[in-house]
């Protein structure tokens, strides 16, 4: 029964979260709920001393494992669900016991590294986050860069292939959120323990979805508290017992002696890696990224690169598909992070989908009216290839599409030719997209720090158009 209930909850949560994440209704409570369930997006806010409205959900998610364990991992996490399905198909019954301490060690290391990266606002904070990896799968329908593609393949490998050998490999060895849950679970108040009724028949060992029971005792580092052992035991020997956090746990792996040593190693490797990334962070962001336009709401290249986890959710919802996933082309920092490519598409003036779905606050949302003024770049006309300047005949493709009226046609040598008023240009790129020449004669020059353009609307625009009563002039 528990098994069936668990499967049903997992499946429905998987479907609901997928649908809700991909829909971009602003102010949707459920939307906020689903994206706040996963720690790292919220941490990304906290790292910048912003307290999002959905912070309480994340705090709640931190309290649950202190009480009862990794409910999130076993019942809600979509990544875990995928691995469970793979494991169910394979039906493996035994893994070597030494797997668990190794995986636990790796996940501790990754946790420290990711926390350091995220709270120092590094450009690589989304490297391990399961939520970002999961969402990136949906961007496969869009054209992603080859680096993103490699990331997606690696992730798919770790959740579809490795679970054949080791169930829940990703959750136990790679996922930093899983590591947080693991540490909290080790100090949980309520625990599953075998009572004296256990006759060491070994049924539970083969039925456990993570294969983490040995000789009637649960390896807590690997347990995801799915409660399936309560049901699978023929003797009904498992019971939930209360334990004060200060009382010592009966440790199956008995790592107490080694703990001090482990901690030292972790600190050493963690700080070394941090130094490596910190060096990478300074410098390259400003040098390499200036060749690309970053989405509206990103504020500045530094802010954007240091808060985007590269989940590519914005790519998935972009209606014009102007957003592309960065490859190494825009520096190591721009890897997986979105940029705008105006040769084939443009940023729609009436749309703010990317801003409203961004789970990490990398794209700060302030309403559509404000987005329409955010200047992400500036169009520049190349007068040596622009048709009216060179061939002396009208074209005006850019001016007719310009949503802000920044491009106006003015008479130059008796031909109407485009001129850009930089005060009004927001860099939406529709001019570059519709320019008929190749290479394009009008291009968007990116801005490293986004500013605001002048409002193209006059201060008191009438709500209704003015009425004219003149007769036909013919």
């Amino acid at each position: 029964m528990i098994k069936k209930i668990r499967f049903f909850i997992q499946l429905s949560f998987f479907i609901c979260s997928t649908i809700l994440l991909l829909s971009f209704d602003q102010g949707n409570q459920a939307h906020d709920f689903f994206r706040s369930l996963h720690f790292f997006p919220t941490f990304s806010y906290l790292a910048k001393f912003i307290f999002p409205t959905f912070l309480y959900i994340t705090l709640f998610m931190l309290i649950i494992p202190l009480l009862i364990g990794r409910i999130y991992c076993s019942y809600l996490c979509p990544v875990g669900f995928i691995q469970d399905i793979v494991f169910k198909i394979i039906k493996k019954t035994k893994v070597p016991q030494k797997f668990f301490p190794i995986l636990s060690f790796i996940s501790n290391l990754i946790l420290i590294l990711s926390l350091l990266l995220i709270f120092t606002a590094s450009n690589y904070q989304g490297l391990f986050d399961h939520f970002s990896h999961f969402i990136r799968l949906f961007s496969l329908t869009h054209s992603v860069g080859y680096v993103s593609f490699i990331f997606i393949l690696l992730f798919l490998f770790s959740i579809l292939v490795i679970p054949i050998i080791a169930p829940r490999f990703f959750c136990q060895g790679l996922c930093p959120s899983g590591a947080i849950y693991k540490i909290l679970n080790l100090n949980a108040l309520f625990n599953i323990n075998a009572s004296k009724a256990c006759n060491h028949c070994g049924v539970c060992e083969t039925k456990c979805p993570t294969l983490c029971i040995r000789d009637g005792a649960i390896i807590k580092e690997a347990c995801i508290t799915c409660f399936e052992c309560l049901e699978s035991c023929p003797q009904k020997a498992f019971e939930i017992t209360f334990k004060f956090p200060w009382r010592k746990r009966k440790d199956f792996l008995n790592q107490n002696k080694k703990r001090r040593e482990t901690f030292k190693t972790l600190l050493l490797i963690g700080s070394g890696l941090l130094a490596f990334f910190a060096i990478k962070k300074t410098g390259s962001a400003n040098l390499m990224g200036t060749h690309l336009v970053i989405p509206p709401g990103a504020k500045s290249l530094r802010h954007f690169y240091s808060s985007c986890t590269g989940c590519n959710l914005c790519l998935t919802v972009c209606p014009t598909k102007v957003l592309k996933s960065g490859s190494t082309l825009n520096g190591y920092d721009g890897t997986n992070k979105p940029y705008l490519d105006f040769d084939e598409a443009y940023c729609s003036f009436e749309c703010n989908a990317c801003l409203s779905v961004c789970p990490t606050g990398a794209l700060a949302y302030d309403g559509l009216a404000q987005k329409q003024l955010i200047k992400i770049g500036e169009s520049k006309i190349d007068e040596t290839s622009c048709i009216p300047y060179v061939h002396k005949r009208i074209c005006g493709s850019c001016a007719e599409h310009c949503p802000t009226g920044a491009i106006q046609m003015v008479l130059i040598d008796n031909v109407l030719a485009p001129k850009v008023d930089r005060n009004f240009c927001i860099g939406c790129g529709i001019c570059q997209k519709v320019c008929p020449t190749s290479p394009k004669s009008i291009k968007i020059a990116p801005l490293t720090i986004h500013t605001y353009a002048y409002s193209p609307k006059k201060n008191n625009i009438p709500k209704k158009p003015s009425i004219s009563n003149e007769d036909f002039p013919f």
Binding site: P319, S348, F349, I394, S397, M409, K464, P465, F472
Partner: protein
């Protein structure tokens, strides 16, 4: 006199030759036909109301649509803007035209436009998708190259080949429903310019001569009926417009079988001299219509006019 087989054949050949070489118009020139005005100009009503009155004056929809024929209604849905901003054709008018086509017995009425902004958002926000579907028409997709067929244009000066939407080629009757707007490059956009929404590669036109291309295209196929929506007229910052400041509520409508004549009248409404709009002269040179508005038979109708 006895007629031999030879003489009969001779005479019949001569007769068929005469019929083929002489335009039928000349033969039946003396038979009086019912004369309709060249242009109907209607004022002071809602778009749908004006169309009701105007279409009667030009002979009713039955004059253009025979029962069982398929109809393409081609409004301007170029921009992701609301009906109040005057960038697209008024949805009520499109719906009314479809109703009239249905009443005339049209088998299938399709509507589409190759939009400048994203297709789905333009179709939705212009209100035209809803209006068309309620009236019983079909909105066709236009945002993929697969819907377009390449065609040669006989006599086109710069436009020799063009990729045209299949519906434009397959429909029996074409009703062009542009909205009158200022245009940044061609000064004015209405009937002829509206055909840029049935082709795939607009950038080609811009690249090799916009005015000539606009005049070349109707050589392929011209509209059977043109209805210029000048209810909300965008007088500056066209063709997209920036705010309601750019539009003036003129409450006018032009109905004609001659797209060039309708455009000439539309120029006047925008306070433009028709000679400023280059493509009109070019289209007249192709004998696509006449810009001679003074010698045309214009019928003006005023709805709600106080006597």
């Amino acid at each position: 006199m006895k007629t031999s087989r030879r003489t009969l054949l001779k005479w019949s050949l001569l007769l068929t030759g005469y019929l083929f070489t002489t335009p039928l118009k000349k033969v039946f020139a003396n038979i009086p036909l019912k004369k309709y005005p060249d242009l109907i100009a209607i004022k002071d009503g809602s778009p749908a109301q004006m169309f009701d009155v105007g279409i009667e004056a030009i002979g009713g929809m039955k004059r253009f649509v025979r029962p069982g024929q398929s109809v393409l209604v081609k409004p301007n849905i170029g921009w992701n803007r609301t009906p109040g901003e005057g960038a697209n054709t008024q949805p009520d008018l499109v719906a009314k035209i479809i109703e009239h086509c249905k009443a005339a017995g049209a088998s299938k009425i399709v509507v589409f436009d190759n939009t400048c902004n994203t297709m789905s958002s333009c179709y939705e926000n212009s209100g035209i998708k809803k209006a068309v579907e309620n009236a019983g028409g079909i909105m066709l997709p236009s945002d993929d190259e697969k819907y377009y067929l390449e065609k040669n244009i006989p006599g086109g000066k710069i436009l020799k080949k063009v990729k045209v939407h299949k519906a434009f080629l397959e429909s029996d009757v074409i009703i062009n429903v542009p909205t009158l707007k200022h245009h940044s490059s061609t000064k004015m956009t209405a009937s002829l310019k509206n055909f840029m929404g049935v082709i795939w590669d607009r950038q080609f036109w811009h690249k090799y001569g916009l005015n000539q291309a606009i005049a070349d295209f109707p050589l392929l196929r011209n509209a059977d009926l043109t209805i210029v929506d000048a209810y909300l007229v965008m007088t500056k910052n066209g063709p997209r417009g920036i705010s309601t400041d750019d539009v003036i509520l003129k409450k006018m409508q032009l109905i004609s079988t001659d797209a060039v004549l309708a455009d000439t009248a539309a120029c006047k409404i925008l306070n433009l001299n028709p000679s400023e709009v280059t493509y009109l002269k070019l289209a007249e040179d192709f004998k696509l219509g006449s810009t001679d508005i003074k010698n045309s038979n214009i019928k003006k109708i005023y709805i709600n006019k106080k006597a």
